[in-house]
Amino acid sequence: MSEIVLTGRGLVGGVAEAEALVTRHAISGWGGVEPRTGRIIESRHELVGQSFAGKVLVFPGAKGSSGWSGMFHMARLVGSAPAAMVFTVMNTKIALGVVVSHVPAVTDLDGDPFEVIRTGDRVRVDGDRGTIIVTRADTYRRDPEPSRGHGWAAEQEQDTDGRRCAGPGPGEHG
């Protein structure tokens, strides 16, 4: 099974492995995602209608309103955060967003993640080492038992245990 390894800068520690959701378009937080489900709602975004919950979100970074971190923070509290984040363009919105999301995050990779990773590929993100390991979908889908890494799903369940789900709620910020 062929794997591709990219190395960069680890931002938030921990290890997660999940399917990738890839977009070359920056993501708006407030007014661009619905944190209860992790769905992209920006009308003209190429991922509109799709959810990043439990996925390795591979994207350029954050745009739009200052409510970016608040939306991803809320998504974490209700259990809809991405499993990990891989991005290319640093700004304050994405920096604060990955910090409060508490999921492994990596940037400054030594290869173009948009060339290497396609939606559906399995990606293992090691935020402590700053590495990602990509297994192409056409490879792992023939594999009857793909490896699962550190079990992000179990952690997510633990996160949401005993908490009530809620929407973004009035007062989230533009």
Binding site: G31, S66, G171
Partner: protein, 426 residues
Amino acid sequence: MRLADDERAMLDGEQGEAVAAAMDLLVRYGEVLGAERLVDTDNVCGANLFGSRHSLVCGSPTPDGAFSEHSLDTPRVLPIPPVRAQSYQLIGPMDTKHWQVQGLPQAEHDEIMASEQYNAEHGIHLLNTCTPYQVGNVPLKGEHCAWMESSAVVYVNSVLGARTNVEGRESTGAAMLTGKIPYWGLHLEENRRGSHLVEVSTPVTANRDWGLLGYWIGEQVPEEAIPVVDGVAGAPDLVRLKHFGAAAASSGGVEMYHLPGITVEARTPEEAFAGRAPVERLHYGPAQRREAYEHLNATATDTSVDLVMIGCPHATLGQIRDVVRLLEGRRVHADSALWVFTPRALRHVAEQNGYARALEDAGALLMSDTCPAIGQFLPPGTRVIATDSAKQVHYLPAIMDVQGWFGTLAECVDAAVTGTWRGELR
């Protein structure tokens, strides 16, 4: 990141657990950014008004619990001390006067009022607006600030020359308690130079034109760009630059721009670029203006308008008076609503001036503290909205699943009076 002695002491808990948690958040955040240090700030604008949706997802549904989780990113319920920095509450979820129009239950009203009282007791000034620069918080050139609200950030960076990145709830919450923010991005002189040149060859005069230009630029340039806009004849004003910046920060991530000769940090394009060549030259002419207009109106097909929204970012007194005059001798259509949003302080002035009464007499309503996108409310059954704000028409259809028309103030008031959208781009 290198910490100064006072910052190290805060991190070590010398000023209590909440300040230590705030410093810990700033250190985690600053290290992700790659900031070398923090900078002192005594001007922080954040958003700490919480209702049930925020309290329900916390471990502890108390005001301290909500502030600890949502504003400091700590799951521990910490006693929050009075804020250290001059701190301001931005636009929030509720109009404290017309909350019933929003359809809020009494319990939700009471919870948000308690949250507001909690903020006041901690020394956070209740400006309750997305435009603090209209109502008593006008930072100086070079002043290090920590502001949320993308439309306000782009305004104070560009028009006033204050220095702030687009901060978030957690970083401003931490800055309020510590008086510190990462020294990164737009706090540094060398990051404030122009990057992209936009040459304008079509007249940009009315408010709508400034919204179109801003929206188009935001779509064209990358997030980190600082556009330099050249070729605009005539001088804009606060309202036009408010619309322009808000639009550019909605379609894209523009946090600062230069309008040479108008904004404070560049008299000429050469000065804006500080000797460097533009990364890219863009041209804005009639075709680009039309493209922005079509993008802004892309969600709308039905011409029956249920709500006209004015005041995004929050309306000036001048805009309120303009609406009053456009409504003279007319009345809002029985099947439509016309809501005008302004800062709380300006609503008091508008009431004294008789504008609020005049709007109500014509079937419209002056509201404050919030907006339909932030508060997530519309008149029952609303399917189509119209607004003179590129920012509101960018966000509201996505957030509330409605159609949105964008046009001039006169077209919007006309739609409210007739119930029908008849706007067009000439």
